[in-house]
Assembly symmetry: C2
């Protein structure tokens, strides 16, 4: 790598799909001699990752692979991370860093505190913000993180140096790195990501159960298409995200229901001015928003 | 035009923006000698439409222009159509057809019954389904309706021949034409278009009023971008659509609130299986949907 501080010889990836696989491909581009070892639940997926040169080897012996690696990336569903942390904790070398790619952070941090024991300082939690409608090693791309945001949620136990090392790794992958507290991260993403996903799933589900579903869908156009694109996301992944970020998401749902009720009342009372006012505020904010 | 039955020498367009202007440009392409006269509220917009050759002339004398035209297209906001119909009704020739481009139909039909009097049979209501984030004559395009759907909601008073003539005009513009009853049309579009717009406006409005709005928006990504694209639509137009389709939209809002409440309860009770089931049904329907 460009920076002499960050010199990795070997990384271990748990979960070799879109997030973990793209991380490996991106790092390999800047660090050609890097050895990448992959672990995962599905032998088939691991073989595919190896065929596609996403990983160099399929890991077999957890102890020897983890103890000799510079960085461990947890890119499994967040619900699986606690158990995994418990398994690898005994084998973590003193200089081995752990990070993750989970979409929620308070739950992952709680799992880490429970399962990593006195190795907790070596875990720097992270969340790369990259679209997730695709999955699997075949979806992995070296440029997935180029100009994307990555949020780190460092722990009080982390050394400044370790946080900086993880930050630099992501910067080498092309990402713009920010830092938030774990609960702040979860509140932010409940509002701008998890709630919209729920709302989009809810709309399509609502239509899916109707007798005239096919008629309705035959007249749906580009507005519906964009609004519901995220309803094609993985049900398992979003079930896990919702459960993991339950409290923040319940608050968001409650607030949104209040908002809808206010709109319902305005419409019921023929308060056209109030509706226009709500739409105008939204239009102005949305039009002026520049995606990072 | 290709079909000898449909031979128009002159059309009058009320509202020379995206919908009316594109209609004129599309028709002119198949009918080069067509004379297009434009009326509108804004002199500036009319001048621009003329400069861009969207119309040939800016209309001045309502009586002479309307009485000598083969087709009148109403492409104004739906709230303005009733008054306009009352003004032009006395001048409609026996063979002059009227159609419109309004996004709601029951209200437009009611306005027509009130204002067109014994000329009601000459009005064949229509709704071209074409994206409306852009507006004005500068957004008009000859191919806007190519492969788009147009819904006609014929009246019992319409002759078969007149409905066929309006259908053929739209087909000449490249559109796929369907027919629905006006109230059926409004119920369908409340579900697949008007409700999603309301939900998208509501989400952005909810975020817009928060103190940490800028922080939230700085972490919003592609899911948010697509979900909220329609929240950049015209507040005036959507106020009018909501008011015009109020009853159907209130029913949709109520149904959606019930759906959200069921999701809220599942999340509150940690019912992961129910959430996954809802998401799976939505994902399957959305993934199998092929936009027309």
């Amino acid at each position: 790598m460009k920076d002499t501080e960050i010199r990795f010889n070997k990384i271990v990836i748990f979960g070799v799909g879109l997030i973990g696989g793209s991380f490996a491909l991106a790092l390999r581009r800047v660090c050609p001699e890097l050895e990448v070892v992959g672990f995962g639940r599905s032998v088939e997926t691991l073989r595919l990752a190896k065929e596609l040169s996403v990983i160099d080897r399929i890991g077999e012996d957890l102890e020897s692979e983890v103890s000799s690696s510079d960085l461990v990336m947890l890119a499994t569903p967040v619900g699986k991370m606690g158990e995994l942390m418990g398994k690898i904790a005994p084998f973590l070398g003193e200089r081995t860093l752990i990070t993750d790619g989970g979409s929620t952070k308070s739950d992952v941090v709680a799992a880490a505190r429970e399962n990593l024991g006195d190795k907790i300082a070596q875990f720097v939690p992270g969340h790369p913000i990259a679209g997730a409608e695709l999955s699997g090693p075949e979806a992995a791309r070296a440029d997935l993180y180029q100009d994307r945001r990555v949020v780190l949620t460092p722990l009080p136990e982390n050394s400044k140096e370790d946080v900086l090392r993880v930050r630099k790794v992501w910067e080498e992958c092309g990402a713009n790195v920010s830092e938030l507290a774990p609960d702040q991260h979860d509140a932010v993403f409940a509002a701008v990501s998890h709630l919209p996903h729920l709302l989009s799933f809810a709309l399509v589900h609502d239509i899916a159960l109707r007798q005239n579903r096919d008629l309705l869908l035959s007249f749906a156009a580009s507005g519906f298409r964009d609004f519901t694109r995220i309803a094609a996301s993985s049900p398992e992944m979003w079930r896990d995200i919702c459960m993991a970020n339950r409290d923040a998401l319940l608050r968001e749902l409650k607030g949104y229901a209040d908002e809808l009720y206010a709109i319902y009342q305005a419409l019921e009372k023929n308060d056209a001015e109030k509706l226009e006012n709500i739409f105008s505020i939204a239009r102005d904010v949305r039009s002026n928003w520049n995606q990072n």
